[in-house]
């Protein structure tokens, strides 16, 4: 039986030499957390099942810094590495794979040009393409939206892009299904309402998306404690839970979180 995965996420600011890991709150304020490959190495030693690197500065010049980060990390970290932020062509994806990434995550570029998913999947396989969705609750219901019941009433979920700065009008549930049909092998689902809030994962969102696609869903946004991970694994079919701040600032160690989950009956890799 497959284990539920615990995935630390490194938001990387690549505007400084070698890059640095930062953490935003509700897609805004920034706090410095450490050197990317050092943190990745620590999380690997602590039992992370996978590591996600997101380039939050995402521009052409900085991609080289990201490939350096991945090259350095992949020499001593032996779990899957996923890399995202600003990848908008097969050629750019290839640079990242050649540096040692196992998966790339796409958000803005896939919304702008959905065929990019198929182009990368046909070269590297569906398992190598992760669709990242940044979803925001919209309580003003409109015709044609996939409506989800939440503790605050019914809503639909709108996809955001450009790092949360712009909205698309695209329905997140519909987009998830379409992206999977185009070849996305996994969905990294971030709740914009919860990201950085420490209020826990958006359970109705995670539940709705993980029931509507057959590929693994990584829940993201709002995790502040092992209890939040337990909740998302007990209440939804999410394959993995992603968190950043709780690991970066020493509040929780990956191993302690996994022990906590295992004691409460969640199948995890120890």
């Amino acid at each position: 039986m497959l284990a539920r995965r615990v995935i630390p996420c490194l938001d990387c600011d690549l505007q400084v030499p070698g890059g640095r890991v930062v953490k935003g709150i509700e897609f805004q304020q920034i706090r410095y957390a450490g050197v990317p490959w050092e943190l990745a190495g620590k999380y690997y030693q602590d039992g992370a099942d996978e590591i996600v690197f997101l380039d939050i500065t995402a521009s052409h010049e900085r991609r080289e810094t990201m490939t350096e980060v991945i090259k350095r990390t992949s020499r001593s970290v032996f779990v899957p590495l996923a890399v995202g932020g600003g990848i908008s062509s097969l050629e750019q994806a290839r640079e990242v794979f050649n540096a040692g990434a196992d998966k790339i995550t796409l958000n803005t570029s896939a919304l702008n040009r959905p065929e990019l998913i198929s182009e990368i999947a046909s070269h590297y396989g569906n398992q190598a393409v992760v669709l990242a969705i940044d979803a925001k609750r919209r309580y003003a219901l409109e015709a044609g939206r996939e409506v989800v019941q939440t503790e605050s009433g019914p809503c639909w979920f709108e996809c955001s892009y450009y790092g949360g700065r712009r909205f698309t009008g695209v329905d997140a549930l519909a987009w998830a299904k379409k992206a999977v049909s185009l070849g996305a092998g996994e969905i990294l689902l971030t709740s914009m309402d919860r990201d950085g809030t420490y209020d826990g994962f958006d359970i109705p969102l995670t539940d709705a998306v993980s029931r509507s696609v057959k590929v693994p869903v990584i829940a993201s946004g709002g995790c502040a404690s092992p209890d939040h991970m337990l909740e998302v694994f007990q209440k939804t079919q999410a394959s993995a839970a992603l968190a950043a701040s709780i690991f970066h600032f020493g509040e929780w160690n990956v191993r302690d979180v996994k022990d906590y989950l295992k004691k409460r009956g969640v199948v995890v890799r120890i």
């Binding site: 039986m1 284990a3 032996f78 794979f97 040692g100 396989g125 590929v215 993995a240 890799r269």
Partner: protein, 201 residues
């Protein structure tokens, strides 16, 4: 001691290279069948479709068969396990190496395909390659098809994913895993170390 990684143009070999380098095995990428001679161990990686892999790997078929007959330890990974079989549902008509009797079949529709993530081994037979690995230890899998050996005696380990899935096989000096030891943390590296040790002896 040097280990060859057969580079037949199918995908990302950095991970396996880095992992072998990390366990001090001095790996070398080998692109030409003739260059396979003289290596003390051979890793056959594989990603992508069975048919595509075999189309390219067939160039190496003779060199690999000779190495196998000479007793050189050979380690197949992922599709590198599947190509040991005779054929695959993924690519009807394509012939595998046929070193293990049986065929490669698709995972059932009732489960998540591909199987992607960490799954715990059920060990069927003790082999040196799994020295230090215990029942239930987890490894990283990414695949949609799995090998069904006609002769169960080659089965070394299985995992459950809707059905019982072949996770590792061994036949003489040939060993192969469906999972990725190079992506399976410390326990995966341990299996690679076992391979390096078998090469040294």
């Amino acid at each position: 001691m040097t280990i060859a990684i057969v580079d037949y143009g199918m995908g990302n070999l950095f991970s396996i290279y880095n992992a072998l380098d990390y366990v001090r095995a001095s790996p070398k990428m080998v692109k030409e069948p003739a260059a396979l001679q003289g290596f003390q161990g051979i890793v056959v990686p594989g990603v992508g479709a069975f048919g595509q892999c075999m189309a390219r790997l067939s160039l190496f078929q003779e060199a690999l068969s000779r190495a196998r007959q000479d007793g050189v330890p050979i380690f197949g990974i992922c599709v590198g396990l599947q190509v040991l079989f005779e054929e695959s549902e993924e690519s009807p008509g394509a012939r595998g190496l046929g070193w293990i009797k049986g065929k490669v079949v698709k995972l059932p529709d009732s489960v998540m395909i591909p199987q992607m993530g960490w799954n715990g081994l059920s060990i069927k037979k003790h082999v040196e390659m799994l020295d230090g690995i215990e029942e239930g230890d987890m490894f990283y899998f990414v695949h949609s098809y799995y090998g069904q050996p006609a002769d169960g005696s080659v089965l070394v380990a299985t995992v459950e994913h809707g059905v019982t899935v072949t996770a590792a096989v061994a036949s003489g000096n040939v060993f192969a895993t469906q999972f990725h030891p190079e992506k399976s943390g410390a326990r995966g590296l341990h299996i690679l170390e076992n391979f390096v040790r078998s090469v040294k002896c």
